[in-house]
């Protein structure tokens, strides 16, 4: 099944930048970031449809030893 997604809006870009990530974009930057981000998201969203159900992420956390080992 193909995962559905809506096109990311300029309001979302502005909101995430201002409200969550603490940086501001001017009008030109909002336009350019929106266009680039839409292309990136289109690519990345395709990963959601791969057979990943039983696969754990490759992140490896290593328990930290005390100085006594």
């Amino acid at each position: 099944m193909k995962t559905s997604r809506k096109i990311i809006s300029k309001e979302t870009i502005t909101g995430i930048a201002d409200e969550l990530a603490d940086f501001s974009l001017n009008r030109d930057e909002i336009d350019s970031r929106s266009a680039v981000m839409e292309g990136i998201l289109e690519n990345i969203t395709s990963l959601r449809d791969l057979p990943l159900k039983d696969i754990e992420p490759a992140l490896l956390y290593k328990p930290i030893k005390s100085k006594k080992g």
Binding site: I13, F23, I40, L52
Partner: protein, 468 residues
């Protein structure tokens, strides 16, 4: 008299031992070339002249005393400016770190120094290693020695240009999506990205923790083996460092590849490679066949999703790494890198995790294939170096950005952490180098170095030098 900058590492070591020439003479020859040509290329961003000469004098004294000598004594190298160097400015090519002077060497530089290598200076890099062309740097673009209207490739562009132009004998590089292999391919040298964890990343400014690798960039596979021998090994300061035993890389260079199976992917890697690159790579593979290797067609399932996964991971991790100081220093970043760091804020956590899960999926596919074959072979890049400032390219009728095209064949092996080496195998019609990539099983650097060595024993592309 032979130009002293034309010798390989073993030739220099033998010459030093026999008293044919000295480390001081060789170091001065390299410093003269830097003085003469660096303004044209912008490869060095700092020349460590006085200290290099002192190191050379110490090396000369050690040879004269005929005591046992370390493996790289008197070999003139240079280092990507992403690497920390004690008491030497280390900027990562960014105005954010323009006055940064570390107190300690990166582990791999400390190892090279302890093996007797001379540090000629620091080399240009794309700002924070965040780009494959080396066009964006506080020092300006690094130019390609084969044609200075073209980019050097990046992010280790200074390393690629300096080795190709004989401004140093070898250099360090780092590779997150291809940043050792891309400038090596663009500049016509040999570049090795070892297995993830083989060489310590400690002391190298991170771009993306789970995909960063460091490695040597040299004129030949033999020189790469000698540098790798000094750089490889466990480092408790690097959480991803491997305890796998370091083999003898030099003695593994037999040149015998008879019966070795080389998997040739039947799609993706060649699909969007320039036709003349495909032709050169196929000719190189026929040389390997002539040496007894067996070509086996393979299909790497899911490979077409590699770029998306890599993008999700480096955008997320890059933004996380720079989060602390980004808002304070926004105006100091180049526009391109600032844009990437902003974009990382829009990746959903679940997509980052999917990308990490994809790495396991892709890694398993490659592992299954590497049960059947010994190596994979691909074009190093699907294009050659392009003119500075060129953003788009059409290959086989497909319009794409230079940025995505240049990463296409290298970044899958950053996702899976497999060792990969590129070597020159021809030239395009406009005179720019083309390359072959050989990929191996985890920690089989010895194997891929041996394939590259076998090829270089049977061909002379790696001996060609740009006219400056």
């Amino acid at each position: 008299m032979t130009d002293l900058t034309s010798y390989g590492v073993l030739d220099l070591l033998n010459g030093y031992k026999n008293g044919d020439f000295s480390p001081v003479e060789v170091t001065k020859s390299y410093l003269d070339r830097i003085d003469k040509y660096n303004d044209t290329l912008n490869a060095f961003v700092l020349v460590n002249k006085d200290e290099a000469l002192k190191q050379a004098q110490d090396a000369e004294a050690a040879y004269n005393s005929r005591t046992s000598t370390p493996s790289l004594l008197g070999i003139p190298l240079a280092h990507k400016d992403l690497y920390s160097t004690a008491n030497i400015r280390s900027t990562a090519g960014s105005r954010v770190l323009k006055d940064h002077v570390p107190t300690e060497d990166a582990t791999s530089i400390a190892l090279l120094t302890s093996h007797g290598a001379i540090n000629l200076g620091k080399l240009n890099t794309h700002e924070f290693a965040y780009g494959p062309t080396n066009e964006q740097s506080m020092f300006g673009s690094c130019l390609n020695p084969w044609n200075t209207e073209y980019f050097s490739g990046g992010s280790s562009g200074g390393s690629g240009a300096a080795v190709a132009a004989s401004l140093c004998l070898g250099a360090t590089g780092s590779d997150t999506g291809g940043s050792i292999r891309i400038p090596s391919a663009c500049c016509g040298i040999t570049g090795l990205k070892p297995t993830y964890g083989r060489i310590s990343r400690s002391g190298i400014v991170p771009l993306c923790w789970t995909m960063d690798h460091s490695g040597p960039m040299t004129r030949s596979a033999k020189d790469a083996a000698l540098m790798l021998q000094a750089m490889a090994g466990f480092d408790p300061k690097d959480s991803a460092s491997s305890q796998t035993v370091v083999p003898d890389y030099i003695n593994s260079l037999s040149g015998d590849i008879k019966g070795k199976k080389i998997g040739l992917p039947n799609r993706y890697f060649f699909d969007q490679a320039d036709e003349s690159i495909e032709e050169s790579v196929m000719q190189a593979l026929s040389v390997l066949e002539g040496l007894g290797a067996i070509l086996v067609p393979i299909d790497i399932k899911y490979i077409e999703h590699a770029a998306a996964a890599a993008l999700a991971i480096y955008l997320s991790e890059g933004t996380a790494f720079h989060d602390h100081g980004f808002n304070l220093n926004q105006s100091l970043y180049t526009d391109q890198v600032r844009g990437f760091l902003e974009l990382g804020n829009f990746i959903l956590a679940k997509d980052y995790i999917h990308a990490q899960r994809f790495r396991t999926l892709l890694g398993q596919e490659m592992a299954n294939l590497l049960d059947e074959v010994d190596y994979f072979a691909t074009p190093g890049l699907s294009l050659t170096a392009q003119k500075i400032g060129q953003e788009d390219i059409t290959i086989r009728g497909v319009d794409q950005t230079v940025f995505s095209a240049i990463l296409r064949n290298t970044e899958p092996f950053n996702l899976t952490g497999l060792p990969a080496i590129v070597m020159p195998c021809g030239f395009s019609n406009d005179g720019m180098p083309q390359s072959l990539q050989i990929v191996g099983r985890p920690f089989d650097e010895a194997g891929i170095l041996n394939v590259a060595h076998a090829y270089q024993e049977a061909s002379d592309w790696h001996l060609k030098k740009p006219i400056l």
